[in-house]
Amino acid sequence: MTISFDPTEHDHVGKPLPVRDAREKVSGRLRYANDLALAGMVHGALVRSPHAHAKVLRVDATEALALPGVVGVLTHEDTPRTVWDGCWFNYRGPALDGHARFAGDEVAAVAATTPEIARAAAALIRVEYEVLPAVLTAEAAGATGAEPVRDEGNLREPYVAEWGDLAAGEAEADHILHAVIDHPSQQMATIGRNACLADWEGDRVTVWTGSQTPSELKTGLAMALDIPQSKVRVQALPTGSSFGQWWSNNFMMITALLARKIGRPVKIELSNAECFATVKRRHKELSTGRIGVTEDGRITFLEIDHVMDNGGYGFKNDVGFFCVDNWGRAESGRCTVRAASTNLVTAGCMRGVGDVTLGNCVERLCDMAAERLGLDPVEFRLSHQLRTGEPLRHIMGHDVPEVAQARSDSKAFRAKVPADWPEPFVLSSGSTAEILREGAAAFGWDQRFVGWGKPNHCDGEIRRAVGVGTGIHCCGVELEGGTAATVRVNPDGSVKLHASVGRHGSGAETTQVQVAAEALGVTWDMIEMETGDTDSCPWSHGSIASNTMYRTGFATVSAAKDAKRQILEVAARNLFNCDPDDLDIRQNLVHRRTRPDNERYTIAEVLNAVRSDALGQFSTVIGRPTEAMPPSTTFARHFAAHFVEVEADVGTGEIRLLDYLACQDSGTVVNPHVLMNQVIGGAICGAGFALHEELHFHPETGAVMNDGFLDYKVLRSADFPARTQVIFGNSHDSVGPYGARGAGEAPIAAPVPAICQAVFNAIGCWVDLPMTPERVIAALDRLGHTPH
């Protein structure tokens, strides 16, 4: 592959610039919502249902209100009946409606002068319940006569993606293989605990909280509070880690409602157990699939039936299964996703949604087929995975009329988008091909893979083997509106970039500034970024769906170019007396393109040249995106190929990770440090899901039983090979900023199939997830003999 991106041409893009808030983070000075306080502020605590499913008959707060220090109580009777929606139906429901839909669901809130008094008062609130039958599994939710968890019923409309002639594919197959994989529910397990602080001034509210979706939160608050969006200001603060946990959460709505009711600023801080058990989690997902292959290695069909549970307030009808794109060379296919409401804590989009689970099932089926045919797993992927220019199968919103129409009439679609954009509904750039080849060579795959189900090293009860897995995800989803950014150039030439991407540790505030600096021609220390204030940032999706570089970055670059054009127009008119197109900005200096060293002005000098009056009112330039947003699921994906060596102890069932190589194709690497961090973080989190992570729900109440780090085991860096290597692919996207696409989610999808395959090769059988020592032993027992 030719090098299409030359970092030496750029001042900022491609450079390992330091993460902007690194110093504050490591010195403990970064301020989280938990650290904030306001004069006159009181503390809130939540009353939670002990039942999986119940109607609230009566709330008696007499005793609580009598406790000295208690300021007020909020119940469903004080709460507007309006339903608020979280982005992509990650949440849908009223803030409080007297209907508890999971054990731990909020039923009331109390405010007091100290957090301790508030919690003591919460325990004194007597709630009388009518207990309803609990629906604890997706299967039970779909049974006839099942108790409705929600008014809309328990089942969402199935989401189906299909291509080719499935019946013909089945008829042609020489081998058909089946897999059923039960994916447990993963918890984001954020290290930080979130808090929310709400303050009303008249009928306007300001809310401080950790969120990766400030704009969505503003929208949600306006719905829950039943007020116009103009009266809501969100000041999103760093979340610590988030992984999808801290978008807009119901406790934030309750904080604002409680503050309105009592007329004082209120702060609610969640405990670690509340973060684990009452906010959000990955869906429990059951994947059933079939694959057909011919003797000569063609995939004639791929069929998946995927059932997911939404918990109490999730309302999704799909998970983002871009994995069917990755294996899109399968000649025919059908992927059906069915979603059900249950009386478990709300489920929603956790990092890599769908591609971690459903993707694992697709990879498993392909591995089973390759094993049956005796084909090398790297080679099998190279021959069947998507390439640039090939059709995409999973178009988000393919059932939305506009999208469906665009698909059937691509000429009409083309007429609407810029001429230099790629063909729609085919992959615009990149693939797993290059990273698989390079990764296999760097890992020594040909020497270390010695055949399916065969360890490359045996010593007593120890077996070692390697595995490979691939992952894919989108680069943002266009369906909810156009992400925007503004670039304000101050009279002194300093710049403020506003884009509501939040700060959840992905490094977005660093890479957005890099592309803005590049587009504007200023040095990056001249730019500061506001990521969380919805009063200054235009609407944006936030940092979700791996969209931040591809979509927000596109808006940022477009806004920076717009600001640059305005500066050059002023300079051309007032200082150079030339055509603005003859001018450029680099290193903060405006100059002629042809003679850059001759006549140069700082941006401050240019802006001061239009001093509007004698009092010294200098001008501010405001740049905003002038180009149309790319419909991202129509073009772009990002890719991961991970290689792992594991050691299995067939005596105890323990699996250790010995060596790891993570390869990533995100198009242009805007900042190698930031991308490396995304890739390794994803690998560790995916490996945790493969080996240990699993929420346990109480068999009767559905309450989360392992609501803390003692019994919810995440991997730490010491659990992961110290020698982990990262390799970046070299593709370039014609739409994404400077050729970049998305980054954060493919790296969590690839580890699961890679580690499953390595364990299979070590011990000769597939193991249920998570592959705890006990499950490994159970699988060996089923195998009936000590392998090899």
């Binding site: 939670r48 100290t114 301790e116 008094i117 919690r119 003591a120 919460a122 325990a123 405990s271 157990a273 509340e274 005596g651 105890t652 323990e654 240990h692 346990h696 039983m705 392992n706 003692l710 019994d711 085991k713 995440v714 991997l715 730490r716 010491a718 659990d719 705890t772 020592p773 006990e774 032993i777």
Partner: protein, 288 residues
């Protein structure tokens, strides 16, 4: 998830001698060592002590003494300090425990007195045949560690008594090893097993012990191991019988961490491995 408002913060007292410490003890006071277990009892389990009596500034609780026959470890030695202890099996065990930060605070006495069924130091010290010294208002006593634990979180200590030291006999030609299964690097044991082997001058087994943790309400010594191995040549010992005895000795529970069946089976596997490692260490020892 309900927490009752704390009326008063406990006072922290810091005696410099054992006598002072014993004199400070009273209703509502608790001994505070590293606080790594105790703080969780206060923060999560509703323990509301009135006074915390810090034992870590008492010099005699922080000493290591070696005489010909035994090594005495002060109860307030931290796990980090034990990493350099003259007992290799104890040093190896503490390195597998907790995190660097926790090891820096946590103490030997705290690990034993908290009496978690999974406490890692219990099996290795039981296998080494340790005894403990206890000081209280009525004077001091010395008892075998076997018998110290009476249930999960319970020991023979009364509230006014302090565990002052652990005495580990150091016979010649003895080796020991501890092995455990945990989910991740930082985790408590799902199952742990320690073994010791002592040879006589003819290189025959003179004594042998196996102790287990996390497979019964208390850490336990497996009965009958010494009898099974005594008098045998140490080279080429078969430990399958001992593994079986370990499986039979334990009474594990099923919880979120592991099932009773798995724990029982692993008690056998780990017993075999701990004994094998101890025998391997013997091989590296010059035999008389």
């Amino acid at each position: 998830m309900t927490i009752i408002a704390r009326s008063t913060e406990p006072v922290l007292q810091r005696p410099a001698t054992l006598t002072e410490a014993l004199a400070l003890s009273g209703p509502g006071s608790v001994w505070w060592a590293g606080g790594t277990d105790l703080w969780l009892m206060i923060d999560r389990k509703g323990l509301r002590p009135e006074a915390l009596i810090d034992l870590t500034h008492i010099a005699e609780l922080r000493a290591i003494q070696t005489t010909g026959a035994e090594t005495t470890l002060g109860a307030a030695l931290t796990l980090a300090e034990l990493e350099a202890s003259p007992l290799p099996a104890v040093a190896d065990t503490v390195r597998s425990m907790c995190t660097v930060q926790t090891r820096t605070l946590a103490t030997l006495g705290g690990n034993l007195c908290h009496a978690a069924p999974s406490a890692d130091l219990a099996p290795v010290l039981l296998a080494l045949g340790a005894e403990v010294s206890i000081a209280g208002p009525a004077g001091t006593r010395r008892i075998p560690l076997d018998g110290f634990f009476t249930g999960p979180g319970r020991t023979v200590l009364s509230a006014e008594e302090i565990l002052t030291a652990v005495h580990v006999p150091t016979p010649q030609r003895q080796t020991a090893a501890y092995t455990r299964i945990a989910r991740t690097v930082v985790d408590i044991a799902l199952v742990g097993a320690a073994a010791s082997l002592t040879l006589d001058e003819e290189c025959h087994v003179l004594d042998a012990r196996v102790a287990l943790c996390a497979v019964a309400p208390v850490p336990l010594l497996v009965p009958g191991i010494a009898e099974a191995l005594k008098g045998r040549a140490y080279d080429g010992l078969d430990f399958a019988g001992c593994a079986k005895m370990a499986e039979e000795a334990c009474a594990p529970i099923t919880d979120l961490r592991a099932s009773a069946d798995y724990r029982r089976r692993m008690a056998g596997v780990l017993t075999r491995r701990a004994l094998t490692t101890a025998a391997d260490h013997l091989r590296r020892m010059p035999c008389a």
